[in-house]
C-alpha cells in the first residue's frame, strides 16, 4: 500500500471514529429538548458527560491529519467553506459551553437557555457535517489555482441540504440508542418511542438520498462499476440497518448500538469509495480535482506521520476503551455530575 493511500484510509478511519462517537452525542443533543423534567435533562447531558470531549478530539485529530497529509485539500476546503466552518466553530463552542455551564446555576431561565443552545448547536453541527459531505460528493467550483471560486450560498444547494437533514436523522437515531442504553425506567420507555420515530425518518431519508445519489450523480458510482464486489458493502449496510430495530425489539440496546455504529462506518466507507482517489471533486472539470496524490505532502512527511500514528494509535484506543469501561452502566446523577 502506498503512503498516500494509507493516509486516505487513515483520515477515513479518523472520520469514521468521529462519526460513530460524536454521532451519538450530537444525536443526544438533538433529542435533548424532548426530555420533560430538569432531572431528565441532566441525565441526558450526563450520559455523554465523561466522553463527549474525547469524542470531539477525533475531529480535531482528523483535521490535523488532513492538514499534515493533504495540505492542499485542507487549505482549499477550509478557506472555501469559510462561513460554513465559522458557523460550525460557533456551534461547537456553544455546545461545549452549554454542557459545561448549564447546571451550574439553579435558575430556570439560565438552564432553559443552555438547553436550547445545546439542542441547536448539536443539530446545527450534524446538519453542517452532512452539508459538507453532500458538497464533497457533488463537487465544488475549483479552478487550476486550487482555490474555491464560489460563495457561501453555493454550498446550500438541494442535494447537500438533503444529506445534511439525513445526517441529523441518522445521529438522532444513533443517539437515541445510546440514551436507551444509558437510561432506565420511564425515561427509557420514552426514549424507545423516540428511537422508533427517528429510525422511521432515517430509513425514509436513507432511501431518498441513495436514489438521488445514484440517479443524479453518476460520478459517485464509478468506483462501484469498476469494483463490483464493493456492492457487498451496500448489502451489508442494508442488513445492518434492518438489524437495528430488531435488536431494540429484543431488548439488546448494546447490540443495537454496535449495529448502528457499523451502519455509520459503512456509510463513511461508501462515501470514501464514491470519492476515491479524490479528496475534493471540482465541478469545473476532473483535471482540477484534488486527489490523494496531487494534494499530498511529501513522501517523507507521510512516512514520518505514519510512524507517529503507529506509535500513538494503540494509546488512543486504550484510553478510549478504558474511559468507556470506567463509565459503563446506567447514568446516575452524582455530586460530580453536570
Amino acid at each position: 500500500m502506498d503512503l498516500n493511500l494509507f493516509w486516505y484510509l487513515m483520515i477515513g478511519v479518523l472520520l469514521t471514529g468521529y462519526a460513530i462517537l460524536d454521532g451519538f452525542d450530537l444525536g443526544v443533543g438533538t433529542l435533548h429538548l424532548f426530555t420533560r423534567t430538569d432531572e431528565e435533562r441532566r441525565l441526558s447531558m450526563n450520559s455523554i458527560g465523561p466522553v463527549w470531549d474525547g469524542n470531539e478530539v477525533w475531529l480535531v485529530t482528523a483535521g490535523g491529519a488532513l492538514f499534515a497529509a493533504f495540505p492542499h485539500a485542507y487549505a482549499t476546503a477550509f478557506s472555501g467553506f469559510y462561513l460554513a466552518f465559522m458557523l460550525l466553530l460557533c456551534a461547537l463552542i456553544f455546545r461545549a459551553v452549554a454542557l459545561e455551564f448549564r447546571s451550574k446555576r439553579p435558575s430556570k431561565g439560565w438552564r432553559q437557555s443552555w438547553d436550547v443552545a445545546f439542542f441547536a448547536s448539536s443539530t446545527l453541527s450534524a446538519l453542517l457535517f452532512g452539508v459538507a459531505v453532500g458538497n464533497m460528493i457533488q463537487g465544488i467550483p475549483i479552478g487550476a489555482d486550487k482555490e474555491y471560486a464560489g460563495g457561501f450560498w453555493n454550498l446550500l444547494t438541494p442535494y447537500p441540504l438533503l444529506v445534511g437533514v439525513f445526517n441529523v436523522s441518522m445521529f438522532a437515531m444513533h443517539g437515541s440508542i445510546y440514551l436507551y442504553l444509558k437510561t432506565e425506567g420511564e425515561l427509557q420507555e420514552r426514549v424507545r418511542q423516540w428511537f422508533y420515530k427517528a429510525f422511521a425518518i432515517f430509513v425514509v431519508l436513507y432511501v431518498v438520498v441513495s436514489c438521488v445519489t445514484v440517479w443524479r450523480l453518476p460520478s459517485a458510482t464509478v468506483n462501484f462499476r469498476e469494483f463490483p464486489w464493493l456492492t457487498g458493502v451496500v448489502v451489508l449496510n442494508v442488513l445492518a440497518v434492518a438489524n437495528i430495530p430488531r435488536a431494540i425489539y429484543l431488548g439488546l440496546p448494546g447490540r443495537a448500538l454496535v449495529t448502528s455504529s457499523l451502519t455509520i462506518a459503512a456509510l463513511v466507507l461508501l462515501f470514501g469509495v464514491a470519492l476515491f482517489p479524490n479528496l475534493i471533486v471540482s465541478s469545473m472539470g476532473p483535471e482540477y480535482n484534488l486527489t490523494a496524490y496531487n494534494a499530498a505532502s511529501s513522501q517523507r512527511t507521510l512516512w514520518i506521520m505514519r510512524n507517529i500514528a503507529f506509535i500513538g494509535l494503540p494509546f488512543v484506543l486504550t484510553y478510549t476503551v478504558a474511559i468507556y469501561w470506567i463509565f459503563r452502566g446506567k447514568v446516575k446523577l452524582t455530586p460530580t455530575s453536570y
Binding site: A69, I93, K104, P106, S297
Partner: protein, 478 residues
C-alpha cells in the same frame, strides 16, 4: 486599513489566539498545583489535602472546557484564514499538529473524564495517575504547538520546493525541525510562564479568602504551596528568559533590535534601555534611560561587541518597533515584580508574619492580573516581532492569507467571534466567581454567622453539600 483582508485576518488571529491563551496557561499551571496537592493527599492521607485537590480540580475543569472550545478555532483557522500559509507549511507544520492530536489531546481528554467524574469510580491511586496524565497532557500540547511556532520563527530541517503554482517547505530532517534553534528556549520559557500564572492564580484566590477570614486553614496551606512554586518558577524564568533572548539575538537579530528599540547600530557596545518610547518617525528612542554597553554584555558577554540595529536590515524586512518594544519591556518588568513579590513572601514566611500584612495580601489578590498580562505580552512581543514574516525569512504575512476569502467574510467572522467570546468570557468569570464564592468543601462555618449574608451563604453551601459539590441544586429538587 479595515478593508485590507490581511489586516483583518491578523486582527482575527490576534483576537482568537489571545482569548484562547487565557485558558491553557492557567490549566498548565493549575495542573501542577493539582499534582502537588493530590500527591500530598496520597502520601499523607490528610483529608484537607483531598479537599484542596478537589477544589483546584473544579476551577481547572471549568477553565479546561474553555481551552478546548476556543482551541478548535485555532486549528481550523490556519485553513480558513491562512490557506496559502497552510499550503506552504503543511508538510512541516502539519506533522507537529498531528502529533499534538495523537499524543496530547487524546491523553488529556481521556484522563480528564476520570479526573472530573471519577472521584468515586476509581481508587485514589488511579485518580492521582489521571491527574498526573492530564497535567502531562496539557504540557505535551504545549510542546507540539510551541515546536510548530518555533519552526516559523527559526526554520530548520527543511528545503523549499516548487509545488504546482507556488512553493512549499518540505521536511528533510524531522528531528532538526523539532529541535530547531528556538524550540527548547521558547518551550521552557512558555511553560515557566504558565507555572508562574498558576502559582499567582492560587495565591490570588487564597489571599482573598484570608482577607475575608474564610477557609483559612485551607487557604494558608494552598498559599504556601503556591508561594514556593511561584518563587522557584519566577527565579528560573530569569535564567530561562535570558537564554531565550540570547537565542533571539543569534537567530532573529531584527526582532531583538525591535525589542530593544535599537534603530541605529551603535558604535562599539550597545546600551540596554530600561525605559523609553519608540519614535517611529524619527527612528529613535525618546525618553530613554540606558545602561551603556549592557545589551552587548547580555548578548555577547562583553560590553564592546556591537549589536546590529534595525538600520542593518532592508526597510521591507524590519518589524514594527512600538508594540514589541513596549510588550517586551512590560513583560520583563512584570517578571522582576514576580521575583520580588515571591521572595518577599518567603522572607515574611521565615519571619512568621506572612499572613499579617493585609496590604500585601491585597497585592497578591491582584498580582494574578500581572501574571496574565506577562503571558500575553510575551507572545505579543514574539509574534509582532516576527513581522513582516509569517515564516521567518521565507514567507511574508501578506502572502499567507486565503485567496478565496473576502474581507467582508473575515469582518463578519470577527464580529461573530467578538460577540461569542464576550459572552463566553462573561460566563467563565461568572462560573469561576461562583465556585470561588462557594469555596472548598471544608467544614469551617462562616465566621460572620449573625449577619444575613452569612446565613444565606451557609444555607447555600448546605444545599450544595446535599446535592453536589459543584453546584447549588435548583429549588424544585430541594
Amino acid at each position: 486599513m479595515f478593508a485590507d483582508a490581511t489586516m483583518l485576518a491578523r486582527i482575527q488571529f490576534g483576537l482568537t489566539i489571545a482569548f484562547h491563551y487565557l485558558f491553557p496557561p492557567l490549566t498548565i499551571g493549575l495542573g501542577v498545583v493539582m499534582v502537588m496537592t493530590e500527591g500530598a493527599y496520597i502520601v499523607t492521607r490528610d483529608k484537607l489535602w483531598e479537599i484542596t485537590a478537589k477544589y483546584w480540580t473544579r476551577l481547572f475543569a471549568a477553565t479546561f472546557a474553555m481551552g478546548v472550545a476556543t482551541g478548535i478555532v485555532m486549528e481550523f483557522q490556519f485553513g480558513t484564514n491562512w490557506s496559502t500559509y497552510s499550503r506552504f507549511v503543511g508538510d512541516v507544520f502539519g506533522s507537529a499538529l498531528a502529533a499534538e492530536g495523537v499524543f496530547a489531546f487524546f491523553l488529556e481528554s481521556g484522563f480528564l473524564a476520570v479526573l472530573v467524574f471519577g472521584w468515586d469510580r476509581v481508587s485514589p491511586a488511579v485518580h492521582f495517575l489521571s491527574t498526573l496524565m492530564v497535567s502531562l497532557g496539557s504540557m505535551f500540547s504545549a510542546v507540539w504547538i510551541v515546536v510548530a511556532n518555533s519552526w516559523q520563527q527559526t526554520p530548520a530541517g527543511y528545503h523549499v520546493v516548487r509545488d504546482g503554482n507556488g512553493w512549499r517547505a518540505e521536511i528533510t530532517d524531522f528531528w532538526a525541525m523539532v529541535f530547531n534553534p528556538s524550540s527548547v528556549p521558547r518551550l521552557t520559557h512558555t511553560l515557566i510562564g504558565c507555572f508562574i500564572l498558576g502559582a499567582f492564580f492560587v495565591m490570588s484566590i487564597t489571599a482573598w479568602y484570608l482577607l475575608k477570614k474564610r477557609h483559612e486553614e485551607f487557604a494558608r496551606r494552598s498559599f504556601k504551596v503556591a508561594l514556593v512554586f511561584g518563587a522557584v518558577a519566577s527565579l528560573a524564568q530569569l535564567f530561562v528568559g535570558h537564554d531565550h533572548a540570547k537565542q533571539v539575538a543569534a537567530t532573529q537579530p531584527a526582532k531583538l533590535a525591535a525589542y530593544e528599540g535599537l534603530y541605529k547600530t551603535p558604535e562599539g557596545g550597545a546600551p540596554l534601555s530600561l525605559i523609553g518610547w519608540p519614535n517611529e518617525k524619527a527612528q529613535r528612542l525618546d525618553y530613554a534611560v540606558e545602561i551603556p554597553g549592557m545589551l552587548s554584555f547580555l548578548v555577547h558577554g562583553d560590553t564592546k561587541t556591537p549589536v546590529p540595529g534595525l538600520d542593518q536590515f532592508k526597510p521591507e524586512d524590519r518589524p514594527p518597533v512600538v508594540v514589541p518594544f513596549l510588550a517586551y519591556h512590560a513583560m520583563i518588568a512584570l517578571g522582576m515584580g514576580f521575583i520580588g513579590l515571591s521572595l518577599l513572601g518567603l522572607f515574611l514566611w521565615w519571619r512568621g508574619t506572612l499572613f499579617q500584612h493585609r496590604w500585601l495580601l491585597w497585592v497578591y489578590v491582584f498580582a494574578v492580573l500581572g501574571a496574565y498580562a506577562a503571558n500575553q505580552l510575551g507572545w505579543i512581543a514574539a509574534e509582532v516581532g516576527r513581522q513582516p514574516w509569517s515564516v521567518y525569512g521565507l514567507l511574508r504575512t501578506a502572502d499567507s492569507v486565503s485567496k478565496s476569502v473576502k474581507a467582508g467574510e473575515i469582518l463578519a467572522s470577527i464580529i461573530m467571534f467578538t460577540i461569542v467570546y464576550a459572552l463566553l468570557f462573561a460566563v467563565w468569570i461568572y462560573v469561576m466567581n461562583s465556585k470561588i464564592q462557594h469555596g472548598p468543601d471544608t467544614d469551617e462555618t462562616h465566621p460572620d454567622k449573625t449577619s444575613l449574608d452569612g446565613l444565606m451563604e451557609a444555607a447555600g453551601s448546605l444545599g450544595g453539600h446535599r446535592h453536589s459539590m459543584t453546584e447549588v441544586s435548583d429549588g424544585k429538587d430541594s
